[in-house]
């Protein structure tokens, strides 16, 4: 494997609760190589999103342990100011719900310009030109006109393109995409995934794809990391993962997908598979 872009070691994340600390992620370790796509999969509440947010430094109230090095530089122990300077440039994030991820009272252009100018000192004019360039790159129709429009005028798919353009504004080496297609319908999902892959190849970015959708994983990921209850249960390249999942929980996840040719009788549900003796290994 080529040298890692991101090295996460023994990452633990906990939240202070009424009684003690609730642990969201425990001793998670993984690597991402430059230009690679790692899919982080698991059920709701298994710690996928929290892992992404912690890398962005967007969990101010959490207790975070372990280390995460991006190109050799620690990103977890930074002060807020250092973190801000670091955030945009090396890591950016695309959020789950494009409908609520944009500020309703700022134009698309203003939000893009803000992201561009947060990163480097350029004039408004240059930033506006670059914003237009970004919208072109995420293949939004009539990009010049969109710059002056407010988010409510755009459809969900277009808004997600804008959110992706925002993430690209600071030329990240690693893009974290947190369920980027969950809020979109199926045809738009395919377009957005296609776009993410194209952009990844154009820029040589690495992609950390957080999802629970195994169909998305099989189409896009190079490697798969399965999480359950805040812990990694399996890590494999994508083809062996689907052909021969090692961990029973992974087998359960794969079996829980809808089948193109359904077997007779109800499809096994995840808890049943997990609770049966099979999961003991």
């Amino acid at each position: 494997m080529s040298p890692s872009l991101l090295e996460v070691r023994e990452l633990s994340i906990g939240f202070a609760a009424a009684r003690g600390v609730v642990s969201a992620v425990e001793r998670l370790s993984f690597d991402i190589a430059p230009g690679e796509t790692l899919a982080l999969v698991g059920e709701s509440g298994c710690g996928k999103t929290v892992t992404g947010l912690s890398l962005m430094g967007l969990l101010p109230s959490a207790r975070i342990g372990g280390s995460a090095r991006l190109a050799g530089q620690e990103v977890l122990g930074l002060t807020p100011r250092q973190r801000r300077k670091h955030r945009g440039a090396p890591i950016a994030m695309v959020f789950q719900d494009p409908l609520t991820s944009l500020n309703p009272v700022m134009t698309i252009g203003a939000q893009l310009v803000e992201a561009i100018r947060a990163d480097r000192p350029v004039s408004r004019r240059e930033a506006a030109d670059y914003a237009l360039h970004l919208l072109e790159r995420v293949r939004i129709p009539a990009p010049r006109q969109r710059l002056g429009e407010y988010p409510h005028r755009l459809s969900g798919g277009m808004r997600q393109r804008v959110v992706i353009a925002l993430a690209l504004a600071q030329r990240p080496a690693l893009l974290i995409a947190d369920e980027p297609t969950t809020a979109l319908d199926v045809t738009i999902q395919a377009q957005i995934l296609q776009l993410l892959l194209e952009l990844k190849n154009e820029n040589g970015m690495a992609l950390l794809l957080i999802t629970h959708d195994l169909a998305v994983v099989s189409e896009t990921a190079d490697r798969v990391l399965v999480m359950r209850h805040g812990q990694a249960v399996e890590e494999q390249p994508v083809i062996p993962f689907f052909e021969a999942p090692r961990h029973p929980y992974s087998r359960g996840l794969i079996a829980a997908r809808p089948q193109p040719r359904p077997r007779f009788g109800p499809r096994p549900r995840l808890p049943e598979l997990v609770d049966s003796g099979e999961f003991a290994g």
Partner: protein, 298 residues
């Protein structure tokens, strides 16, 4: 309601005159139209309104429209200054409290807002007079101008502004507290929204997030509230104008009540209603400016 209070304008005038025969009083009542039944008096008043005539104040011996026009600028000035102060400082304090939520500033603002909001306006006014006018002698006791004040237009403006400080701050305090609390609550909600996280992910400064993303979106509920509150600012003006002898419509209303000058009082109510309607319209138009999702049909 005023009719339920014993006595009428003639009693007041007669009482002030010291000696008045019942015949003289009857003559005055007939002259003022007070001898007719209440419904007839009211009908006559409404008929006048139909001709855009507010009637005549026998107490002041002036047409009411002129009386009100004389007092209107003073009241508008007082209310305008008080609202501007309340909105400006209220937003600032509320924003600071929301930005440093749970911190010392937040607690100080909350306590200040609770205390001020619970304190009666007239008491604050009286205490302000005692402290700043009587003890410290920083500001005048009351009134709007000083007799024989500084010459020139600039001098007059300065003189009025100087007299305005205490009444305007007194009137604004309660609203300031309210705006601070609403701003803090509205901003607290906006801080939890997804697009604030998007803004954070951009790596822009917390101050910029607070102002451009959070406060900007929290303005809408604050504007809505201030629209609802405008009517009560006029009510507060009655008290403040009376305490500070500010020559505005509020004090005129107070005098009209004690003088049983019904025509004048009805006309003042009418004017206040018109003012509230105009201000509500302005607020509605403001929505169109503040929220791009609200589009005014052309």
């Amino acid at each position: 309601m005023l009719k339920a209070i014993p006595g009428d304008l003639v009693d007041v005038i007669a009482g002030e005159g010291g000696a008045a025969s019942p015949e003289y009083m009857d003559m005055l009542r007939a002259q003022f139209g007070l001898d007719r039944p209440d419904w007839a008096q009211f009908l006559a008043y409404v008929r006048q309104l139909g001709h855009f005539d507010l009637g005549y104040s026998f107490r002041h011996n002036m047409p009411i429209s002129q009386l009100i026009l004389d007092r209107l600028p003073a009241t508008l000035l007082l209310i305008g200054a008080a609202v501007a102060l309340a909105v400006g400082l209220g937003l600032l304090l509320g924003a600071l409290a929301a930005r440093f939520r749970g911190g010392l500033v937040d607690q100080a603002v909350s306590v200040f807002a609770a205390v001020v909001f619970a304190t009666p306006v007239f008491w604050i006014g009286l205490m302000a007079i005692v402290l700043f006018a009587v003890q410290l002698r920083w500001f005048p006791l009351g009134g709007m101008t000083q007799i024989g004040g500084p010459p020139g237009v600039l001098g007059a403006v300065g003189d009025i502004a100087y007299h305005l400080v205490l009444p305007a701050s007194t009137l604004s305090l309660a609203y300031l507290a309210l705006y601070a609390r609403v701003t803090r609550a509205a901003m607290g909600e906006v801080y939890d929204l997804d697009y604030v996280r998007t803004a954070r992910a951009k790596g822009i400064s917390e101050a910029r997030i607070a102002i451009r993303h959070v406060l900007r979106n929290a303005l809408l509920p604050v504007v809505t509230l201030s629209g609802l509150q405008l009517g009560s600012v006029l009510g507060g003006a009655v008290v403040v104008e009376t305490v500070f002898s500010w020559p505005g419509m509020g004090r005129l209303a107070f005098e009209a009540v004690s003088d049983r000058d019904i025509n004048l009082l009805l006309s003042l109510f009418l004017c206040n209603s018109l003012l509230v309607i105009v201000m509500s319209l302005v607020i509605d138009l403001l929505y169109g400016v503040l929220d791009p999702r609200v589009e005014l049909a052309s």
